[in-house]
Amino acid sequence: MTSDNRTLRIGSGQGFWGDDLDAPVRQMEGGPLDYLMMDYLAEVTMSIMQKQRSRDPSTGYARDFIPLMERLFPAVASKGVRIVTNAGGVNPEGCGEALLEAGRKAGVAGKVKVGVVTGDDLLDRLPQLVEEGHELTNMETGRPITDILEDVQSANAYIGADPIVEALRKGADVIVTGRSTDTALTYGPMMHAFGWSPDDHDRIAQGVVAGHINECGAQASGGNAMADWWTIPSMETVGFPIIEASPDGSLVVTKHPGTGGRVNRAVVTEQLLYEMGDPSEYITPDVVADFTSLQLEEVGEDRVRVTGVTGRPRTDFLKVSIAWADGWKAVGSLVYSWPDAPAKAREAARILRARFDRLGLEFDEVRTELVGWDATHGHLAGEPPSDIPEVQLRIAVRARDRAPVERFSREIAPLVLTGPPSVTGFAGGRPRVQQVMAYWPALLRREAVEPHLKVRILEV
């Protein structure tokens, strides 16, 4: 059910797990749409979901996606809008089962099919993969995986569009995956609808750019946009981006009429540069895209045309995202007021560090920031004037062992009565002790993953 014969409208509904839950509903109701993609996964998200699943095997996916789908199912059934999402996290099967129940509650039984994609999860297979000689060396540090094998919490291969295309071909209306790349959620539907072959490199590369624009939600339609931010209207009803794609791969970024936000050259350029590495080599499981030949053109109000992206054949490897438990950390803060707020905060930090030494607490790192002065720009902010009205002392620690971090969490409150004056802002209670989940990027040959990918179609 395309909006006309030639273009496909693929809307963005979520830019991360925790994004505006009304945005996908606005996308469904605000105008014509063929597909709605929703990205839920970031580098750390999989390990959080894995932790939830280890406590309760029925969990491990984006749980708020289920009540959201209860709201969206009627439109999926009546308008034929198809949904593609990686909300399945580390348990796409569990997510699929929960969806069936939500679909029945929403009254779409017999009208909607759910496609579930599995096989990206490598956690159980990891020891065997290492034994078979897959090195999984850390791409950033060069460390061997055997250093941390026992501390691994989650391991997933970034998978591409193949299983999404297969699920669409088999008639799925809602497709739930695990660690699909964010961009495949957008170009998968393009490959399916336009019948592109895997060696249509330039067109798929255009689709990758479409995916990169859609994957962060409103960040491509005026949210978090720096250029003339004060002129961007009605962000309270911001319209999330919509890609109007053509069979030749050219596309227009837009949003529904009457919604807030802005789609112009400046906003789209900012999103293109987000998390960008080498722009001539944007690697995905399906193609290597080159952004340096890309052209943007404003072709109407809130309409930006994207052309000229080129692509090269995919590599023999898939990227793997591994999360491992790497110690403990906690963050505490106190607010000091005028006069001499910075000097008071610094003296408090000195006292704390001296107490750590006396207690023999060993930390891998202790970091002190004056929030309101140097937390984000460091020494580039210069010396704070002594007459600023207030400053927040933020002190954070990290250690291999939990014990010193626990002790740290009890050392902040006493400073209120045992340190410099004019201190407040401790209403939040003791700092929370958190486990550190470190990210381990690695490469794995595709043939170690692809035969394991499976698509299952379920009837609501």
């Binding site: 004060w230 540069l273 590495g277 990210y439």
Partner: protein, 122 residues
């Protein structure tokens, strides 16, 4: 020649990949792109950040978007949840680069001064 802060010549967006921050710098006026490419060498950017960037600085050119992309390695205190920084994901790292002072022709400074700031009457 006159001094101007980069914030008046360019807008920016940053993000993270592990312990590396990326900073994309986009000229407000395409005419200023060559000037930015000239001034913002990797060495100059590395020197600007000083101890905030532990590793090397890589630069990539996107003349099609009149933009430059910098990769700042070792900038995020270990990155992800390892980092103890407020800005552990480098979300506002770009603004720290926009503080940089540049020497530009008088007419450029005259045209651009204040461009990056919200006007008082807006």
């Amino acid at each position: 020649m006159a001094k101007i802060q980069l914030v008046d010549l360019a807008h920016a967006r940053s993000g993270d990949k592990g312990d590396t921050a990326n900073v994309g710098i986009i000229a407000y006026d395409p005419a200023d792109y060559p000037l930015l490419r000239e001034a913002l060498t990797p060495e100059r950017v590395k020197a600007h950040f000083g101890p905030l960037v532990k590793g090397e600085v890589e630069r990539f050119q996107l003349p099609n978007l009149h933009a430059l992309n910098f990769l700042l390695h070792g900038a995020l205190g270990g990155g992800g949840t390892v980092s103890l920084m407020t800005d552990a994901q480098g979300k506002v790292f770009s603004t720290a680069l926009l503080r940089m002072e540049l020497e530009v022709p008088d007419e450029v400074a005259h045209r651009a001064r204040g461009r990056g700031w919200k006007p008082e009457d807006a």
